[in-house]
Amino acid sequence: MAAVTATPVKATPPRRLIGKYVQPAAFLIVGLLVPTIVTNVPAFEDRWLPLTTMVLCAIFVLFTLGLNIVVGYAGLLDLGYVAFFLFGAYTAAWLMSDFFFQIDPGIHIWSAAVPTAPGINISFWIVLPIAALVAAIAGVIIGAPTLRLKSDYLALVTLGFGEILPQVFRNGESIKGFNLSNGTKGIAPVNAIDMYWLSWTGVVDDKINVFDYTTRYYVIFALCLLFVLVSIRLRDGKLGRAWLAIREDELAASLMGVPLMRTKLWAYGVGAAAGGIGGAFYCVSLGGVNVDTFNFQFSVIVLCMVILGGMANVYGCILGAVILTWVNYTGMKEIGNAINNTFGTTIEMPHYQFLIFGFVLVLMMLFRRDGILPAARQKQSRAVDEQIEKIGTEEVPA
């Protein structure tokens, strides 16, 4: 190690300016302005960047930020993130519809539903924290017995939960006669997002209508913004430093007095809360839940977004989420159409979706492992690694 200290590592100068101002500013400006631009350019709105896709992009940004806390910050590989998505979505479906029609007259708290509707109808804005809480509790319950496992085993157990929960909800039409989830039929319709608290300004209606994607986009964008702030503040705070310490070396961290279990559970809880919020919004945005949405592919794709964008870097994660969601829902189809129109071919691009997806993943891992926007810390430690590897290969001066 003496050799390392003797030749101080020249890490690439930290591009603080970009990290501190340019990326957040770009995120804010693009996030706020794009919908306005897009809606005014028909070619964009119809084909290349429909608002529906943008809403989905923002939802996935939320998921990605949540998973980033678990995987990127705390270094706990979670392959069952779908579980939190599921809890959020079903919480919203339970609390914002006439699913529990046995409750008649229904419970109404500032809801957008018809006042006579049965069931539990609670305002979306109250459901959001409830969904976050339910998901966070689920995260802690899943995490508690498993967090003492090593990384690969942890991945496997979370994967197990991610497989069991959807099956429980799929078969949940009659558990001892109780209809938990309406099985494969799903729960629909779900109440719209109520906007009474803002409608007095005249900017929005009392609730968000089915086709009002612009307002919906701004709601989810605000949630994303909130979570970006949470992510960054947490990362720079005591808890975030503890997470990074655990990620780098669990043993060293515990020797330094980091309470392993509590710190890891916090990571799970916060990450799960983002999943719960995203799930609740997804459910309300689509107007219902369908159990087929919740599969292993979802967990993997969100993980890919984290890794593709740049693990542990908030803006990298956002970029990864936006790119992959766009490719999934719009890009593949439109690029295929464009190629076909230009060259007169009849390639069905969407048929090759997973092929291309897979190749992108493999190539990224081979050639740009830290993602599109690597975290500053990652870059530095890579520089140190390279320096260490050079030691001994250098020629000894005569």
Binding site: L77, P145, T146, L149, K150, S151, D152, Y153, A155, L156, V157, L159, G160, F161, E163, I164, Q167, V168, R170, N171, L251, F296, V300, L303, C304, I307, M311, H351, Y352, Q353, F354, L355, F357, G358, F359, V360, L361, V362, M365, L366, R369
Partner: protein, 345 residues
């Protein structure tokens, strides 16, 4: 950790809260099996035997996981999909190349020729992927090869869709139909055949790993790649050989799956792969005998759950398997046969 400090030593074994709960769970499961058996002996025996034969398939796939995990600590997510490609390959060879649809001597011959071909097919694909992708990531953080494996799995699935179509295709078995009847229990010939092929394969594999020079190199590389290299072992070739062995096992499982289940589908690998990996972990990942034992056990439990009178039924199959996995991870993370090793510091 407080339970460990309160542990009392009784009869050379540590008894603590975790151990006692784990043992209690085992007793409950045993009681449940017994209850099924008393209620409907023949049905229970029947599903147990069928479950065991399915378990043999899981064992073959689990071996591929365990071999690779044992040597480079990679959960090879693409392994299940490799198995799926193998089953499509076998189906195409038997039905389209040899044109055999029924059980007759020509069909048996086609099967006999396809069998080693399927093994070679899966083995070589596995080696190719290792050399093209995983090899470059040997020194990377653990997450990198894992994500690569996920990517490869996507690629394989897409190839499966293009090759086999997105809907499942049914294929006729070229092995004799009917089965062996012992009293009220009947075992299809294909299942017996699966068992009959699995056992010699396992013996050959054990021989290779335990007795040959190459096997010794494998074990050495698994223990410490750097030291093995210093001892003159070509670790890269050894790892490639391990991938070939694992792939060949998947190929054998694929053709037997084709004969017993009679369908090819592009997403078959996903579910089976997960179950097989559970089996590998159940037995203690990295442990060959453990993988086989785990596969048979999972098959048995799944058979009982799906078919026994007091089972939960097929729609809960997946949940049962993964509940076992989670309980096992909590109570005995090293698996049935794995030894509790100290964390390397």
């Amino acid at each position: 950790m407080s339970s460990t400090t309160q542990a009392v030593r009784a009869g050379g074994r540590e008894w603590n809260a975790t151990n006692i709960t784990g043992s209690a769970l085992l007793v409950v499961v045993a009681a449940w099996v017994l209850w099924n058996f008393i209620d409907a002996p023949t049905q229970t025996l029947q599903v147990m035997i069928l479950g065991l034969c399915n378990g043999a398939l899981y064992a073959l796939i689990a071996l591929g996981y365990t071999l690779v995990y044992g040597i480079i600590e990679l959960i090879n997510f693409a392994h299940g999909d490799l198995f799926m490609l193998g089953s499509i390959f076998a189906a195409v060879m038997i039905a389209d190349v040899f044109g055999q649809e029924t059980s007759n001597p020509a069909g048996w011959l086609a099967f006999a020729i396809t069998f080693p071909l399927a093994m070679a097919f899966c083995g070589s694909i596995n080696v190719a992927v290792d050399q093209l992708a995983y090899r470059r990531l040997r020194k990377a953080p653990k997450l990198a090869p894992l994500i690569t494996a996920v990517g490869v799995s996507f690629i394989f699935q897409n190839i499966g869709i293009l090759w086999n179509g997105s809907a499942p295709k049914s294929r006729n078995s070229v092995l004799p139909s009917g089965g062996l009847n012992i009293g009220a229990i009947s075992i299809p010939w294909t299942y017996l055949f699966t068992l009959g092929i699995t056992i010699p394969l396992l013996m050959v594999l054990t021989y290779i790993v335990q007795k040959t020079r190459q096997g010794k190199a494998m074990r050495a590389t698994a223990q410490d790649p750097d030291a093995s290299r210093l001892m003159g072992i070509n670790t890269n070739r050894t790892i490639a050989f391990t991938f070939a062995l694992g792939g060949a096992m998947a190929g054998a499982a694929a053709i037997m799956y084709l004969q017993t289940n009679g369908t090819t589908r592009y997403d078959a690998g996903f579910q089976l792969g997960l179950i097989a990996f559970t089996a590998a972990v159940l037995g203690g990942v990295g442990n060959l005998t453990g993988a086989v034992l785990g596969g048979l056990l999972i098959g048995l439990i799944q058979g009982l759950n799906d078919g026994a009178p007091h089972g939960l039924g097929q729609e809960w199959s997946q949940s049962v398997v993964f509940t076992i996995l989670i309980l096992l991870m909590v109570f005995r993370p090293a698996g049935i046969l794995g030894s509790q090793t100290m964390e390397k510091v």
